[in-house]
Point group: C2
Chain length 344, copies 2
């Protein structure tokens, strides 16, 4: 192995949508693991919308990436050196190694990955943070009941596709929203959604609202929120009384600096009044606060992934140097399924 | 008794704040109770902010009052004729008699009022719908824990004063917001709030936000929402992670036709993002869906009202003909304590 590793650093903060100049691809020395630490050669890393938030210097639920710092990411790879009795070379582990070819982490921050039943890439998507996010928010906050109707956007992504599949397994009607006819086809044929609306086919929130109403004749009981923007504006009037809205992200608004843009029809008072008169429960959640339920999720879903009962789709970009382009494309919906970067 | 009764009807729908011409004071024949029904001579009626919503012809959680229809209200009075075995003349009962001197209701829609321990007016405020609203939202949705901090506006009203007193009894810090120095004095001295801020003393949400921060050094864990507007804008940035916001009303926005006014600093995206990054639970509730817990509330709070442990303040207007003026004044905060109209 080479003595050098590579990483992608935050070169400058984006003003709106990220551009290539915000990233810099750099060589660095491979770090040496200290006591209790483990060195991992990353095989695959994950690209997720939350990373856009880390690029801003704004108060959020996690600290921003400092200028010059390595972009944050989860990755999975092979242990190549270990100073911990819990790992030995040849083990596979998931950890927050960042956008990098190698990473050192304390052993207690790593999760051993079973590669015998399912591919290791599933630890980044369907069985990783995104899949867990969908399962947690839908089951624990959404509190689904058979016969109800679920709506989720980004329906072919790793969060939305998990939500839709869990919803179907529990006897709900599942209506997805996605960008493009091909994604909508995938949502229905691969993930079992009852219907999927292509938001690009609608010129306004009002049009999308009418289409949703037609696909949700009994109204919407659970809206799993991961996008915000026009979709939220179209969903809210269709919510049933006592509806539940878990919020795990608002990707449509991540690039809106002042956060006021793109919401002309969705004022603060209108949201607040809707929550009141429809008796809605709205609950933001950050999945990192809920890892205590991860093993429950894994024991329930991993066998279904191994058997094929729970489907997943991965979109793999080749090479760490191409991570910024894949990330920028993903934020615009250019990916099909869980976006991953093959690092090795 | 006279053969005539009087009522206040909705003469026209308000455009913004109600004006006298929206109401008409009219004579009518006293209705005759049918089988299972009861005729009540109303002694006191309640004025509550929710009635403003009923004046609009807009979708809400309850149907609007029709033009020419009697304004809606709860009232308490003496049974003067009964075709039900459950009531006899001389009993006192609470029911939705409207803005009227007399009313007929099915016996099953009435609640017998005990006048031996507490004045019957308490059935309209501290032990009625408003007090129950405060108790329910704070305890069942707010899920208070000792040592936390509560903020509630309209702190001397029947909802806010109940919330504050329950909060203190459970070991929370209670910070009120009210309009005027006299109300703030009342909140602290009569209802036991630790502090009370006069929102009229602050020129902007930003100023109020800073004042709240000073009075809530550990942040805000529960914001009991009954006003919206500038107070909400000032509160949100001070909310702690995992905070809870029960919403029972948004009086500051009831007069805003388009609901977009008065919220320049509070866009939909900003609210949504705050719920997400602070992991907030926001839950609208309409108290009429929760009467199943009313007896629990009554058995807990009524003895404390009788003993004086739970305080209340009533603002009594004289005469049904003066109800519109009292109502319009109340919407602007002109009342001190629970607004009641002495009808008889």
């Amino acid at each position: 192995m080479s003595d050098k590793m590579y990483r992608v650093a935050l070169a400058s903060r984006p003003d709106g949508a990220p551009v290539p100049a915000n990233f810099s691809y750099e060589a660095a020395d491979i770090p040496t693991p200290g006591e209790g630490e483990v060195l991992v050669r990353v095989h695959y890393m994950s690209l997720d919308p939350y990373m856009r938030g880390r690029m801003d210097d704004a108060e959020s639920y996690a600290a921003p990436v400092p200028l010059g710092g390595t972009m944050e990411a989860g990755g999975v790879g092979e242990v190549i050196a270990s100073n911990s009795p819990d790992f030995e070379p040849g083990d596979f582990a998931f950890g927050m190694f960042g956008w990098a070819t190698h990473g050192v982490q304390p052993a207690k921050m790593l999760r051993k990955v079973d590669q015998t039943q399912v591919p290791i890439t599933t630890s980044l998507g369907v069985l990783g943070m995104p899949g867990f996010t969908g399962w947690y928010g839908f089951t624990q906050i959404g509190k689904p009941k058979a016969g109800e109707t679920l709506v989720v956007a980004a329906a072919t992504g790793p969060v939305g596709s998990m939500v839709g599949q869990v919803a179907k397994s529990l006897g709900l009607r599942a209506v997805g929203i996605a960008g493009g006819a091909d994604k909508c086809k995938l949502a229905v044929e691969k993930f079992g959604f009852d219907a999927c609306l292509d938001h690009r086919a609608y010129g306004s929130a009002k049009d999308l609202r009418a289409a949703l109403k037609a696909e949700c004749p009994d109204g919407i009981d659970i809206y799993f929120e991961n996008v915000g923007g026009m979709v939220l504006e179209a969903v809210l009037p269709n919510m049933n009384r006592f509806g539940r809205i878990p919020i795990c992200g608002i990707i449509a608004w991540y690039d809106a600096g002042g956060l006021g843009e793109g919401a002309q029809g969705l004022s603060g008072p209108k949201i607040w009044r809707t929550i009141l008169v429809k008796h809605l429960l709205v609950n933001g959640f950050i999945i990192s606060n809920h890892w205590n339920l991860y093993n429950q999720f894994l024991s329930e879903i991993a066998p279904k992934v191994a058997s094929g009962e729970v489907a997943y789709v991965e979109d793999v970009a080749e090479g760490l140097e191409n991570a910024p382009a894949a990330f920028m494309s993903m934020l615009k919906g250019g990916n099909m399924g869980k976006q991953i970067v093959k690092v090795i």
